[in-house]
């Protein structure tokens, strides 16, 4: 009984073992890897993915997908930069406005998906195109830079030795964990993703929950966009291009099932870290960025494949039992 429990724990945390193996590998392969400075660098690099992955975790828990977050990041880059530089608005106000806009975009995704019952893939893909275009329109295609110092702190400041983006990521993960584990609507995400019809027949307002989840996805993408802007000190209309895929990779690596209903926020953190360690380690080993893409793709395939094989086996076992 006790041995079983240990085994179960190991099984549910296998992703951390994978992370550990990877850290050991890169430590052995490169003497520059296992230094405080470099590890802090890794965490700093993944902060933006990490922040956005909280929202994506909810979306994938529902069995959905959100392809619009890369464009939300780009748009928020431009909107915030434009408001601060061209309009001279107060940075705090800009932050609030940006988050309002990004949440509203997510909310609109949610409304269209739940009310019109359109497929998530198409709705968020359309939103991706629309808001990428809007970002270019606002800035006329040219980057905007030179922000007030009070804003740059978000991306470049430190609390003691720890970079502020990392602090923000940790806080966001804490909030993300709290929502999914401790609040009643967080539990609805699991119920809905597991079985939408049964969830509805248990009295859950399915449409409302979907709107909430896509709104949260927009909100967290907005925060990621602001951190990115402050770190780069330049607002680029293509800043977020391709981010959705990296974020989806993090979440899926973190063991959130793409069919919905199962996954843990605490494991998504490991998924995010794996991507960070992988990128950093490969740079240290002088692997070309093209080869890095190949490796990332293969790892994604393996992660999802492992999940699918396990599910298939479970089903077979069940069938045999019946």
């Amino acid at each position: 009984m006790k041995a079983n429990k240990v085994l179960d724990t190991v099984k549910s945390r296998i992703i951390y073992i994978f992370l550990l193996v990877m850290i050991l590998f890169f430590s052995a392969a490169s003497s520059n890897f296992l230094t405080v400075r470099n590890l802090m660098n890794v965490v700093k690099q993944v902060a933006i993915y990490g922040i956005a992955s909280v929202g994506m975790t909810y979306v994938i828990l529902l069995g959905g997908i959100d392809l619009s977050i890369g464009s939300i990041i780009s748009l928020i880059n431009i909107v915030a930069a434009y408001a601060m530089v061209n309009l001279g608005m107060n940075p705090l106000l800009v932050v609030l406005l940006s988050l309002l806009i990004s949440t509203a975009i997510g909310f609109m995704n949610g409304i269209v998906i739940s009310q019109l019952r359109m497929p998530e893939l198409i709705v968020t893909f359309a939103a991706q195109t629309i808001f990428a275009g809007l970002a270019y329109i606002i800035c006329n295609g040219t980057p905007i830079s030179r922000f007030p110092d009070s804003f740059l702190v978000i991306g470049q400041g430190y609390v003691g030795p720890i970079p502020i983006p990392v602090v923000i990521m940790v806080i966001i993960f804490a909030i993300g964990w709290f929502i999914s584990e401790k609040t009643y609507f967080g539990r609805y995400f699991y119920a809905l993703g597991g079985n939408e019809e049964a969830a509805q027949l248990s009295g859950i307002n399915v449409k409302k929950v979907k709107c909430l989840v896509y709104s949260l996805s927009g909100l967290f993408a907005g925060i990621a966009g602001l951190v990115m802007l402050a770190r780069a000190n330049t607002g680029q209309p293509n800043a977020g291009v391709g981010y959705e895929f990296d974020v989806i990779t993090c979440v899926v690596l973190g063991g959130v099932s793409t069919t919905g209903g199962s996954g843990k926020m605490s494991n998504v953190i490991a998924g995010v870290m794996i991507i960070g360690v992988l990128q950093n380690g490969m740079v240290l080993l002088d692997v070309s960025s093209y080869a890095q893409m190949v490796v990332k793709g293969v790892i994604l395939l393996i992660a999802v494949g492992a999940d699918c094989v396990q599910k298939y086996r479970l089903q077979e076992v069940k069938k045999a039992a019946e």
């Binding site: 401790k182 609040t183 539990r187 699991y190 119920a191 079985n195 049964a198 509805q200 027949l201 248990s202």
Partner: protein, 501 residues
């Protein structure tokens, strides 16, 4: 010596599933050129039997003889090659292809790698003409009415030279006018010498069409009758003629109170018409009828999962308009659905979460769940309903059917529902757990809950209900009080045909 010319013989067919005997030693002979009706209650084994003929399932024991050739089991291919065609209730047609393409699906007439549409349409036209069906071979199947789609299915079977055509409840999806056209086709096929096995629960149709009738009951062969020398009364007697076997736990007969908890007044929608009924405090109202009679559909409307188009619902004297399950639950209604795994339980979540799901917002402080309360509630119902599990943290998918059913029930008790709707409460549950569920139902009505119980099991319906309302084709066809409970009366009401057009 066998002087009869039997085209199809089933000999000693049995089919066992773990814990369930679907067919037991069924033997049946079908004569060449006859229309042979197959009849029986829900779950009598009709569908299983035809699936052994079509090759969809393999019998555990027995032998199938077609045209003198003997088979241990069929496959869909062998069955087709030997001239057996099946018209299922669900059509196997591709909506976006033409009639001709559907008739020749998988056997398209080709010129090299190209499909020869002209030749195919010409041949399809020939088949349709020979069956006197006025359908254009170039029409898309999607654009046809259900009746015409069924004819395309028949034409498809005929194009494969089917000698035996098995029709599974062919009249169920059709309008009255379409049924007439279908009869005409069936008569024509008989003239052409095709043997037909006709499955239906509408006795009128069977007397109109068939030459002989075989009755199945509880997976067993009962009798084969000549239609000419039989009567509806006789058939019904054979269909239901079983002794009540199960013992139903007794309950205090005085627990039905005068107070009406729930009332439906001329409710229409979701396939039902003008349904009126009342359920009292402490009463089990049984809702009987055949599969597809509109019972589950009614429950869905009460529970807010489907919209009613007219009529009124009253709950404890006040009119309610449940538009979503959430609203119905808030009013005090709970539904234990028929398909436990698809609709009832959240299999991937724990017992505790399942039980608390409808009340999570009630037991939360702000948005934060009071897990202590949640745990206590789950623990309380685990003990009250004796859910067998080491802990309430156990995932529901790891429980047995009976225990899953108890978890679903517990969630409605936690939500303080006063009207509980049970849709086939004991389907797929083993005998011991059944008794437990019955005892629980008794406890609930003794506590003053009102219960609407949908059941296709005649015994269960009669054993557990205080009163039975029977539905047929979306309408109330009768109401029976406990002293008048009688299998034949219920069966008669359930097979009533709608008289209007």
């Amino acid at each position: 010596m066998n002087i009869e010319d039997n085209i199809l013989e089933l000999k000693h067919i049995s089919k066992y599933y773990p814990g369930v005997t679907a067919l037991q030693d069924v033997s049946l002979s079908v004569r060449r050129g006859e229309i042979h009706a197959l009849i029986g209650e829900n779950g009598a084994g009709k569908s299983t039997l035809i699936k052994t003929c079509s090759g969809a399932i393999a019998p555990s024991e027995g032998e199938i003889v077609i045209n003198g050739k003997s088979f241990r089991r069929m496959t869909p291919k062998v069955s087709e090659e030997n001239g057996i065609g099946v018209i299922y209730q669900e059509f196997n047609l591709v909506g976006d292809l033409t009639v001709a393409e559907n008739i020749f699906l998988g056997r398209a007439i080709r010129k090299g790698i190209m499909v020869d549409f002209k030749a195919m349409e010409r041949q399809a036209q020939g088949i349709l003409d020979s069956l006197r069906m006025k359908i254009s071979p170039s029409a898309l199947v999607r654009d046809l009415s259900v009746g015409y789609q069924q004819m395309v299915e028949i034409a498809k079977a005929m194009s494969q030279n089917a000698q035996v055509l098995i029709m599974d409840e062919p009249s169920a999806p059709l309008t009255n006018a379409e049924v007439e056209s279908m009869f005409a086709v069936v008569d024509l096929l008989k003239e052409k010498g095709v043997t037909i096995i006709y499955i239906s629960h509408r006795l009128e149709e069977i007397f109109r069409l068939s030459d002989r009738i075989t009755v199945l009951r509880d997976g067993q062969y009962i009798v084969t009758l000549d239609t000419k020398h039989s009567s509806e009364e006789e058939l019904i007697r054979y269909m239901v003629g079983r002794q009540l076997q199960e013992v139903y736990p007794k309950r205090d007969p005085g627990c039905v109170q005068d107070e009406v908890v729930f009332e439906a007044d001329m409710v229409c929608g979701n396939g039902d018409t003008n349904i009126s009924l009342q359920i009292h405090k402490g009463e089990v109202l049984g809702l009987g009828g055949l599969v597809g009679a509109g019972r589950t559909e009614f429950a869905e409307m009460v529970f807010g999962a489907r919209k009613k188009t007219s009529g009124k619902f009253f709950f404890k004297g006040k009119e309610i308009h449940p538009r979503t399950p959430k609203e119905a639950i808030a009013a005090g209604i709970g539904l234990v659905p028929e398909d436990r795994k698809a609709k009832g339980a959240l299999l991937g979540l724990s017992i505790q979460e399942n039980i608390n799901m409808p009340v999570y917002h009630r037991i939360s402080k702000g948005a934060v769940i009071d897990y202590k309360k949640a745990r206590n509630t789950a623990q309380q119902y685990k003990e009250e309903l004796s859910i067998k599990t080491p802990s309430v943290g156990q995932m529901v998918k790891n429980l047995s059917g009976g225990n899953q059913q108890k978890v679903i029930l517990a969630k409605w008790l936690a939500a303080e529902s006063e009207l509980l709707i049970f849709d086939e409460p004991t389907r797929g549950i083993d005998v011991g757990a059944k008794q437990e569920i019955y005892t629980l139902i008794n406890t609930l009505v003794e506590q003053g809950k009102a219960i609407l119980m949908i059941s296709s099991e005649m015994e269960e319906l009669m054993g557990m209900s205080d009163r039975i309302i029977v539905l047929a084709e979306g309408c109330v066809s009768g109401e029976i009080a406990r002293p008048e409970f009688d299998q034949e009366t219920i069966m008669k009401l359930a097979s009533k045909e709608r008289k209007d057009g």
